[in-house]
């Protein structure tokens, strides 16, 4: 059976950086990605990043992805397997995968799970009509393939993804009829929200979608106000004629492999669902299995990249590689703290507090 020092599962922002950091310190790395190209969500992020300069603020996601890809392909310690899906992790640490129409086995010394997240779905009447998309699908259509999803969109969710995708739809000439959110407050950055509002798009908070309607595809949606117990208020229904309903209602960490590996899991609503317990160096309760990026708790791409750095350095250190491990780790952890120090980081810090609630006894 093939062996390697480090396996990184997932070639998004977290996985790419983790692979680079481990390989630059001398570890042999295999990086798998189920898509036919690396980049994960970065390739559809055509907007400029916020945050600090070190985390590529001011750059567009797609350009950051290209930069990381270059670093990866220039490193002889890294083998990149695209169109390769990891299928399972077994008790003895063996990982199985499907790639190039073959079933492969690999025995890594360390495994970094950077599998990202999947979009949440919403139960409402007629939610199977064609024309109902996840925000990720809309971004893929528009920003990767240059295809608009329709003419008039109802955006469900006023978090950053909902706001940014709404703005991108407007930039592509698609009308956004309204943005609704069940929460009483806009979840995303106000700078995005005000830009959209200035363009005349209403944002209805404390609103939900009751049903979609249409014969063969979406022709409209009925939305209504919610009371303070999140129940729809009779008589507040609005009928919006739209041909697209875009769901931006949050993400769930993709953790099947963590469960399979036997990681202790904890339900943290702030992180989008179940996540593996981990120490601050991102090792899970299964020795040698690490997690970084959205798979360990939904956050955003800048944090995913710094987590990738932490995981990559930790893994290299645990294998005996690296010269300035302590300084490098401290610097990365400091950057992570800094990213989470603003108001947007409050939720993440609350989630981390819950995750570490029973202490850090798993620090190895």
């Amino acid at each position: 059976m093939r062996e390697t020092e480090v396996l990184v599962v997932g070639g998004g922002p977290a996985g790419m950086v983790a692979a680079i950091e481990a390989a630059e310190r001398g570890a042999k790395v295999v990086l798998t990605e189920r898509d036919d190209r690396l980049g994960g969500q970065l390739i559809k992020q055509t907007h400029k990043f916020f945050g600090s300069q070190k985390q590529y603020a001011g750059s567009r996601g797609i350009d950051i992805s290209k930069l990381l890809e270059e670093k990866l392909s220039n490193n002889p310690n890294i083998e990149i397997l695209t169109e390769t899906t990891v299928l399972g992790i077994y008790e003895d640490g063996v990982v199985t995968m499907e790639g190039a129409n073959k079933h492969l086995k690999l025995k890594p010394k360390r495994t970094i799970l950077a599998t990202g997240a999947s979009e949440k779905f919403l139960p409402f009447a007629n939610n199977d009509l064609p024309g109902i998309y996840g925000a990720g699908a809309v971004q893929t259509l528009m920003n990767v393939y240059g295809v608009t999803p329709g003419q008039r969109v109802l955006m469900v969710g006023a978090g950053n993804i909902g706001l940014i995708v709404s703005y991108q739809l407007m930039q592509s000439g698609v009308e956004v009829a309204a943005i609704i959110d069940a929460a009483p407050k806009i979840g995303g950055y106000l700078v995005h929200a005000s830009k959209i509002r200035r363009a005349g798009v209403p944002i209805f908070t404390s609103h939900t979608i009751l049903n979609a309607y249409g014969q063969e595809f979406v022709e409209g949606a009925i939305v209504a106000s919610l009371d303070d117990k999140w129940q729809p208020i009779l008589g507040t229904e609005k009928d919006l004629a739209v041909d697209v309903i875009c769901l931006a209602v949050g993400l769930s960490p993709l953790t099947e492999l963590c469960w399979q590996a036997g990681c202790e899991m904890k339900y943290i609503p702030e992180f989008g669902g179940y996540v593996p317990r981990k120490n601050e160096f991102l090792e899970t309760t299964v020795p040698g299995v690490y997690v970084c990026g959205d798979a360990g708790g939904v956050e955003e791409a800048s944090a995913a990249m710094v987590e990738g750095r932490v995981a990559g350095i930790s893994v290299a250190a645990s294998l005996g590689f690296g010269l300035n491990i302590v300084q490098d780790l401290e610097a990365a952890l400091k950057d992570l703290d800094q990213l989470r120090s603003g108001p947007a980081g409050e939720k993440i810090l609350k989630g981390l507090e819950k995750l570490f609630a029973r202490g850090k006894q798993h620090v190895s």
């Binding site: 059976m1 899906t85 990891v86 299928l87 399972g88 992790i89 077994y90 199985t96 499907e98 129409n101 073959k102 079933h103 492969l104 086995k105 999947s118 949440k120 779905f121 139960p123 409402f124 009447a125 007629n126 939610n127 199977d128 049903n211 309607y213 769930s252 993709l254 099947e256 492999l257 469960w259 399979q260 899991m265 339900y267 669902g273 179940y274």
Partner: protein, 88 residues
């Protein structure tokens, strides 16, 4: 017009069906999966798992994290048997 609320898109299982199964006494995601196939399609429950957990939590008056999670086994996605036959 018929108004169906789908919970499991892969296997076409509706909220009505899920609620019906819960009222029959099914208490876990795995039990509901075994009798209805909810969560056994291409996405392997990524979409419906937590929606079903929410319904169970509501019905039994518990928090979502108290709902027993299903077992997770390889493979994480459906694969052809030929792949296994031809592989290592």
């Amino acid at each position: 017009m018929d108004k169906e609320i789908f919970v499991c898109r892969c296997e076409d299982i509706t909220l009505t069906q899920i609620k019906e199964l819960i009222s029959q006494g099914h208490r876990t995601i795995d039990e509901i999966k075994r009798v209805s196939r909810a969560g056994m399609g291409p996405c392997q429950g990524r979409t419906c798992r937590m929606l079903i957990a929410q319904e169970l939590a509501k019905a039994y008056g518990v928090n979502v994290e108290e709902v027993l999670m299903p077992s997770f086994r390889p493979p994480v996605k459906p694969i052809k048997l030929g792949l296994l036959a031809g592989g290592e």
